[in-house]
């Protein structure tokens, strides 16, 4: 240990203060879900379970959850297929413009969501495509591809080619080799890429606002609309608590799938 004692103590204090900073807002939202008052004044005058009942009887909430899950599943499916295809092309072939592929893929996520949103929505309008779940899926898939691509290409780089060559030497054709050798090798990368893409889609607000249209609400759209209506604040608190609790799932799964998913955050 090179660090002096005072350095270590300072770092420890700074670390726990930062963790406290990260959790304070989440804990406060959790407490407000039980706040007896409709308004989010601090400290709460008393505690109640009433808002959970109110949230359960709100028909818009399950619909929003269903829409969010369907949109995420659709976007993940498309993103995994496109991302895998692009990763295999870049990793296994050399061609003109290869360097720009990753740049092209990262653009939809790197550029401000408001620009992607306006661009896609005006294209849909021009083409006469009605807004709804399918347009949400298209919008989300566009920025999810890079997540699948990054995970798959990282795996392909580490995957030895020899088993595939052996498979071909033993007479298996391209399809069989892909299904029985390449695919199993990529499986956990696809899982973690899919997980990241799902979370990204499930949480997306800005692009969704532009391509959802008036009739389709996802969970973030519901939260955004409801938090601007004072009477619905208690219900938002309950939904918020549920969403915070749900974020344990991807963290747990990412730890199970392995180091691949845990480290680099969401991209």
């Amino acid at each position: 240990m090179v660090e002096a004692r005072w350095v270590r103590v300072t770092l420890r204090v700074a670390t726990w203060l930062t963790v406290g900073f990260l959790y304070l807002p989440l804990v406060l939202v959790g407490i407000h879900a039980f706040n007896e008052s409709r308004f989010m004044a601090w400290p709460p005058p008393g505690f109640t379970l009433r808002w959970f009942g109110e949230a359960l009887s709100n028909p818009a909430i399950p619909v929003a959850f269903l829409n969010s899950v369907l949109a995420a599943l659709g976007a993940v499916a498309i993103a995994l297929v496109l991302g895998t295809l692009a990763a295999m092309a870049v990793q296994r072939h050399s061609f003109f413009g290869k360097e720009s592929i990753s740049f092209l893929l990262v653009l939809p996520i790197a550029l401000p969501g408001v620009i992607t949103g306006i661009a896609l929505s005006s294209t849909f309008q021009t083409l006469g495509v009605g807004f709804g779940l399918p347009t949400i899926i298209v919008g989300h898939a566009t920025f999810c591809v890079v997540v699948a691509y990054n995970n798959v290409i990282a795996r392909l780089r580490r995957l030895p080619r020899t088993p595939e060559e052996a498979s071909a030497d033993l007479g298996a054709d391209t399809w069989i080799t892909f299904r029985r050798i390449t695919m199993p090798g990529m499986r956990s990368a696809l899982l973690s890429g899919g997980l990241l893409a799902f979370a990204l889609s499930f949480d997306e607000v800005i692009v969704t606002l532009f391509v959802a249209g008036a009739g389709t609400q996802t969970v973030p759209i519901f939260v955004l609309n409801a938090m601007q209506r004072p009477t619905e604040l208690p219900v938002v608190n309950v939904v918020a608590l549920v969403l915070i609790a749900l974020s344990v799932i991807p963290v747990y799964l990412a730890q199970r799938i392995g180091a691949d998913a845990g480290g680099g955050g969401r991209i």
């Binding site: 670390t15 930062t18 990260l22 306006i118 005006s122």
Partner: protein, 298 residues
């Protein structure tokens, strides 16, 4: 051979496989066509049409855009109005400020995790930082809104000192919320970068008489710079394009708000012309970041 692996012999697909095997260019085309059609056709196509709006005119009465009626009117309008410059400077300034804030907050915790914490504490901290990263973006903004309220948590904390709560109009609120939202994106790459720095280098630096500050500045910092830049891609570009945070916790106008408001009003030439600014800044930032090796640290 096929029967032994349990696959049905399928003449046509096998012939196609053999042909593809012999023609790698065709294989490549097959692999690339779907992703390229999607990204270039759907995404780049839409983006290009939007940006072309910047060079078209719109009817000042109906607001309808006249395609292919070329003009630089939108740019003249933006350059001729100080508000657009103020908003741009404010947004870029905020993005830089948030990046510096997050770097300052992230380095100590990342250093502690990578070099001081026990393996158990380290595992705990990684999960403790991943959790808020995955928690909903809007929920976090909503939480901060309740903290900033005139009678909210912050007002309650500040009351004994005779200071009033900030309310939900202050631009400093945006600074706090942005820094909060993107902090995990900065901590994780720096932590990964620091973990890769061999301890022997730090020992060598200490043996050669360097004090803690000198070792940090001359050994640690240059080695984790690519990771820091990788983290800054998130803190900088996510702040640059966001319009929800400034809208919900402050009354400040950022680049995103101007684009959103103009497009909502149907004023696409202005929205498009102003969009070019964050696009060029982000692309420039990504190019610099790539030169500094940040893409390998993502």
């Amino acid at each position: 051979m096929t029967t032994r692996t349990g696959e049905k012999p399928a003449g046509r697909s096998r012939r196609l496989a053999a042909w593809l095997h012999a023609h790698p260019r065709a294989q490549l085309r097959l692999l690339l066509s779907a992703p390229l059609v999607w990204l270039v056709g759907v995404y780049i196509g839409s983006l290009t049409i939007l940006l072309l709006n910047a060079f078209w005119t719109s009817d000042s009465f109906t607001g309808k855009v006249n395609p292919f009626d070329w003009s630089l009117a939108a740019f003249e309008q933006i350059l001729g109005n100080d508000v657009y410059r103020t908003v741009a400077l404010r947004t870029v300034g905020m993005a830089l400020l948030v990046t510096v804030t997050d770097a300052l907050l992230a380095i100590p915790i990342a250093y502690y995790m990578a070099r001081v914490a026990s393996p158990r504490a380290r595992r705990f901290l990684v999960i403790a930082i991943l959790m808020p990263l995955w928690a909903s973006y809007l929920v976090k903004i909503f939480a901060w809104r309740s903290i900033f309220l005139g009678n909210g948590f912050l007002a309650w904390v500040l009351q004994p000192f005779g200071i009033a709560g900030p309310g939900t109009d202050e631009i400093t609120n945006s600074w706090i919320v942005f820094s909060y939202l993107w902090l995990p994106y900065m901590i994780l790459p720096i932590y990964t970068g620091l973990e890769r720095v061999p301890g022997s280098l730090l020992e060598a630096s200490a043996d050669l008489g360097a004090r803690a500050g000198t070792t940090f500045r001359r050994v640690v910092l240059p080695l984790v710079l690519p990771s820091l830049v990788a983290g800054s891609i998130f803190t900088f570009s996510l702040t640059l394009g966001d319009y929800i945070v400034p809208d919900l916790v402050s009354d400040a106008t950022f680049i995103g708000n101007v684009i959103y408001d103009n497009s909502a009003l149907g004023n696409f030439p202005i929205a498009a012309a102003y969009s070019l600014l964050p696009i060029l800044i982000v692309i420039g930032y990504l190019l610099v970041a790539r030169r500094l090796g940040a893409f390998d640290s993502l």
